[in-house]
């Protein structure tokens, strides 16, 4: 109960937004009034109305249903595009922070290399080589994104490994894997956890950017970026096709950002 009262207000708002999104993605059929892939030639590009609150697109598909159906895809992107680089980066950062030496030097140069390229450009380049699609997008994001996690983890491990309790672990005769995973990891993981939530906001934006560019989720899969790409030709005449998915992207980004900031406050992580 004490913890519950300490939860900052931004965290509540963020969690509330995410909870709604999560509900949409778990049971889209409960909330979507129409089949997201069903054509309705009687209502092509219909403006928002009571029957179609978000309007319909050029095939008469209900935009509200499509936006809701897209939630599961975009949340999946937010999760996977954060989890894979997060796991890889955490592991590498843990090992490099612990062992240091030549591996650390090489890592430093590698970081310089990766941060020199704009993130999105590098991801697009890799997806272009591998071919479009969600799987290849995850691979690309992992290749580029692990660096940020590894840096965070490395610096935290460097602090923790000089702690007296690690010296205590050594003189108690613990093996190195045991010290690394049982003792250092739980103490060093906090900044990574906070960053990963913020990173999910970026992952949503990245996923929809790539979807928009035709490099991420492929039509007719409903994905917010894909929806915007579909509607971009009608932007001047039927703006609602783009407007509502766009607003939902903003909302999702806000949800993750608020959650990330709130967590940072709660866990007292300095950034």
């Amino acid at each position: 109960m004490k913890l519950l009262r300490r939860i900052p207000r931004p965290l509540w708002c963020g969690l509330a937004i995410l909870a709604v999104m999560l509900a949409f993605s778990i049971a889209p059929d409960l909330f979507a009034p129409y089949d997201p892939l069903g054509f309705d030639f009687a209502a092509l590009k219909a403006p928002p109305s009571l029957a179609h609150p978000f309007g319909t697109d050029q095939f008469g598909r209900d935009m509200l249903s499509r936006t809701i159906a897209a939630t599961v895809v975009d949340l999946q992107i937010a999760l996977f595009a954060t989890m894979f680089p997060g796991l890889l980066g955490t592991l590498i950062g843990l090992l490099i922070g612990w062992y240091g030496g030549i591996a650390d030097t090489i890592f430093g140069r590698l970081v310089d290399l990766v941060v020199t390229f704009p993130f999105l450009v590098l991801v697009i380049a890799i997806v272009a080589i591998l071919g479009p699609g969600l799987t290849n997008m995850y691979i690309a994001v992992t290749i580029v994104g692990w660096v940020a996690y590894a840096r965070l983890m490395r610096s935290e491990v460097m602090v923790q490994k000089n702690g007296e309790y690690i010296a205590a672990c050594k003189v108690l005769g613990y093996s190195t894997p045991r010290i690394l995973f049982q003792h250092i990891l739980p103490n060093a993981i906090r900044p990574v956890m906070v960053y990963s939530v913020t990173d999910m906001a970026l992952a949503i934006l990245l996923g929809s950017s790539l979807g928009y560019l035709g490099l991420g989720a492929q039509p007719p899969t409903a994905e917010w970026g894909v929806l915007i790409a579909d509607g971009k030709n009608y932007l001047t005449t039927e703006p609602w096709i783009v407007l509502f998915p766009g607003a939902v992207i903003v909302l999702a980004g806000l949800g993750f950002s608020l959650t990330g900031d709130g967590l940072a406050d709660l866990l007292e992580v300095k950034r």
Binding site: L172, G173, Y174
Partner: protein, 327 residues
């Protein structure tokens, strides 16, 4: 008499720093017999903690160690890592100065005891739990069963040090290394922890190496004492021998600078000056510049550690004069 449990022979530790090599420990030798309590005493920077940490090879990568540390005849510094891990925690355990930072803040105390048992014994889960409760009882922590599930921040300073000792004792080591175990605690707790350590040493027939800067602690607790100054061993011997018949000018001066049994309000005799810089090798006796009994050769010739009686040795050119003055 059988061979001593631990033999430290000609131990020297040099730290490579950006500003040159620091000679933190320079030729220290001592033995610890079974069931014996050895005190290492010296002022800050005298190398006592570094000497202790060099025993289980717990120094940073920039340290160069020379000399031998023999544990039951095996050189710990020549051992492979796997064998060393068996000795660490299993046979030689260490208690640190700061109980807060030496406990992992995110794991309950019980789990931290459990881990030692997993690493060094073959007990099953239930047996480990029983042993955990038994250990907390042994170090005087009440309601051990509930305490096991608590985190270090829920313990007070003295309780944390007790928990630290319980963790160290978990695998029934033969030797306990204690690096100023009471310095971070307030005085009443200090006394409790020292009494606890002594009781455990007697009950469990362990040996103890106790590092401290407090001569009073040494006098109360130790069988033998090693006095260190500027990384060198000045004098070793039985506590009574060293305290009543010091054969090193530094020990002599140190004892005179303590409030003793003499008349109240009598003047203490401080030692003037500062310890020497140890970023270059010290020529001659390290204490010579501050010594009241200095002679010409002290500045050039390093005194050898010479026997001054049974189990009593000192490295001082003035040892003979100290003996005459006392007689």
């Amino acid at each position: 008499m059988s061979a001593p449990l631990l033999q430290v022979d000609g131990l020297a530790v040099t730290f490579a720093t950006p500003r040159g090599n620091v000679h933190a420990v320079d030729g220290v030798s001592f033995d610890v017999a079974e069931g014996e309590v050895l005190g290492i005493v010296g002022e800050s920077g005298s190398g006592k903690s570094v000497s202790l940490r060099a025993i289980p090879r717990l120094l940073h990568a920039n340290a160069t160690v020379r000399g031998r540390v023999l544990w039951r005849g095996q050189d710990l510094h020549a051992m492979d890592d796997e064998a060393l891990r068996q000795v660490r925690g299993g046979q030689i355990a260490t208690v640190f100065q700061e109980p807060m930072s030496a406990l992992n803040p995110v794991l309950p105390i019980g789990l931290q005891i459990d881990e030692v048992l997993v690493a060094h014994t073959t007990m099953d889960r239930a047996a480990r739990r029983r042993r955990g409760i038994e250990l907390l009882g042994l170090v005087g922590i009440a309601s051990a069963a509930t305490r096991l599930d608590q985190y270090p921040h829920e313990f007070s300073g003295g309780m944390r040090q007790r928990a630290m000792i319980a963790i160290a004792l978990a695998a029934s080591p033969a030797l306990l290394l204690a690096d100023e175990p009471t310095t971070a605690l307030d005085v009443t707790i200090q006394d409790q922890i020292l009494k606890l350590l002594l009781r455990l040493v007697a009950e469990l027939r362990m040996s103890l190496v106790l590092v401290t800067h407090d001569l009073g602690v040494i006098a109360e607790t130790c069988d033998r004492v090693a006095v260190m100054y500027a990384g060198r061993l000045c004098e070793t011997g039985g506590v009574v021998d060293v305290f009543e018949r010091p054969r090193h000018a530094y020990t002599h001066a140190l004892l005179r600078s303590m409030p003793g049994e003499g008349a109240a309000r009598s003047m203490l005799v401080p030692i003037p000056g500062q310890p020497p810089r140890i970023d270059a090798p010290v020529v001659g006796c390290a204490f010579a510049p501050r010594c009241a009994m200095v002679e010409a050769r002290c500045a050039t010739e390093r005194p050898a550690l010479l026997a001054q009686g049974t189990g009593h040795a000192s490295a001082c050119h003035a040892a003979a004069r100290l003996a005459e003055a006392a007689a």
